[in-house]
Symmetry: C2
Subunit: 231 residues, 2 copies
DNA sequence: ACCTGAACACCGTTCAAGT
DNA sequence: ACCTGAACACCGTTCAAGT
């Protein structure tokens, strides 16, 4: 115990920490993941993640690699933490509402942590994606979707959620200023109008001024309606 | 004209081309994009794209940058070529069938060009994605989806297609050997079973042995059924 | 205007050497 | 067992110098 505290003091000198300011918690995968989340939230996905972690945790890169295999494992673990916060918060309610809450929870989480959208899209077998499958599966079961249709319904919903997540996360609203965003939406609207000679001004306008979150939820409801027809 | 052919000869010596083997076509964005598609198809997304292009087209990197702004523009242009081949081939048919064909066409294109899945997911305002929006818009209009619901329906379908595309493209079937794939599907199945005490062996089995393409189409049909309920 | 290719920049990853 | 940090590797991008 005394030897240990001497080691701590020596180590704090080495790392430039003040005497007595000893680290309360040792380096661990959890601490690294938490730090990574903070860094990604603030600096975005193109942060120099490992260099930033090194500074933030005042260690060398090697120490991080001692707890984490590589960047992609770290990102996957970080995304899973974000998703688990959503799925753990689900309260009991009608399965239709639970699916809406889950979907909106994921949407909002990605809104708050933009990097999660791209991350979930990168690898279908990462823990965060499995967690979504799992949560969706529970609710579809509770909804009484027949066995035979369960996996079709599940994959439809999960793919929609992930697709929307990725699109909105990287979306124009995020990386472009309002003027550019408007121009792009107009471009899309123009194509629709061009393709659809009967398109009224209202449709174009609604496309231009659509509310991402509400539109996302409308998509969930379309899938729920489609799933209901499977019964 | 003679000066020109002398220049060609000199240049072919410089680039190591055989005498008389003069390039039939000059370097252009189109040629670069075509070459990029071939390289990405064969070597995958982690190909050393610019170095490979340099060899393939026997030029320097700078020449490529003279026609293309950067890698992401090049990837976006390449993905758009793939998507345009699909959307241009659509034959007139009932809008429901046209939506199925379009969706399957995109699915198959991504199956043949795996890198397209990830690419379409990266930026919602890239040309290939706009092209999908446009094609979907035409069909939803033909389907008689009311104005007010058009953009909700469109974004639901586009997001589903892109989400599924990305998942299947990067999917376990592609990057893992069959044994690992089976293990992962089993893991998902276990979670479903764990969550669903009533889950029968059949449901788990169908999840394990599901056919990606068929499941993708089932999702499109769920969406179509949901859309029908909007009327 | 179009092309050449060496040099640079950026960042994740390794590794020999510590405590 | 855990940590340190300089060196390396990888690849997109720039740029001064050509034709």
């Amino acid at each position: 115990l005394e030897l240990n505290s001497i080691y701590v003091k020596m180590s704090s000198v080495t790392t430039g920490r003040q005497r007595g300011e000893r680290r309360t918690d040792a380096l661990s995968k959890d601490r690294i993941v938490e730090a990574a989340i903070d860094i990604l939230d603030v600096e975005g996905e193109r942060a120099q993640l490992f260099r930033a972690l090194t500074t933030r945790l005042s260690t060398g890169v090697g120490a991080i690699y001692h707890h984490v295999a590589n960047k992609s494992e770290l990102l996957a673990a970080a995304a899973d933490v974000i998703i688990s916060r959503v799925s753990d918060e689900l309260v009991d309610s009608h399965p239709r509402d639970a699916i809406r809450s889950l979907s909106l929870g994921i949407f909002d989480a990605i809104d708050a942590h933009a990097w999660v959208g791209a991350q979930l899209t990168r690898d279908p077998s990462q823990p965060g994606v499995l967690r979504i499958w799992s949560a969706v599966g529970v609710q579809l079961d509770a909804l009484g979707v027949p066995e035979s249709a369960r996996s079709d319904a599940g994959s439809a919903l999960v793919n929609y959620i992930l697709g929307a997540a990725a699109q909105y996360a990287a979306g124009p609203g995020r990386q472009l200023d309002p003027a550019e965003r408007a121009a792009i939406l107009e471009q899309i609207a123009d194509r629709w109008q061009q393709a659809d000679s009967a398109a009224s001004a209202e449709s174009v306008t609604s496309l231009r001024e659509h509310d991402d979150r509400q539109q996302f939820l409308a998509g969930v409801d379309i899938f729920l309606a489609g799933i209901a027809s499977l019964r």
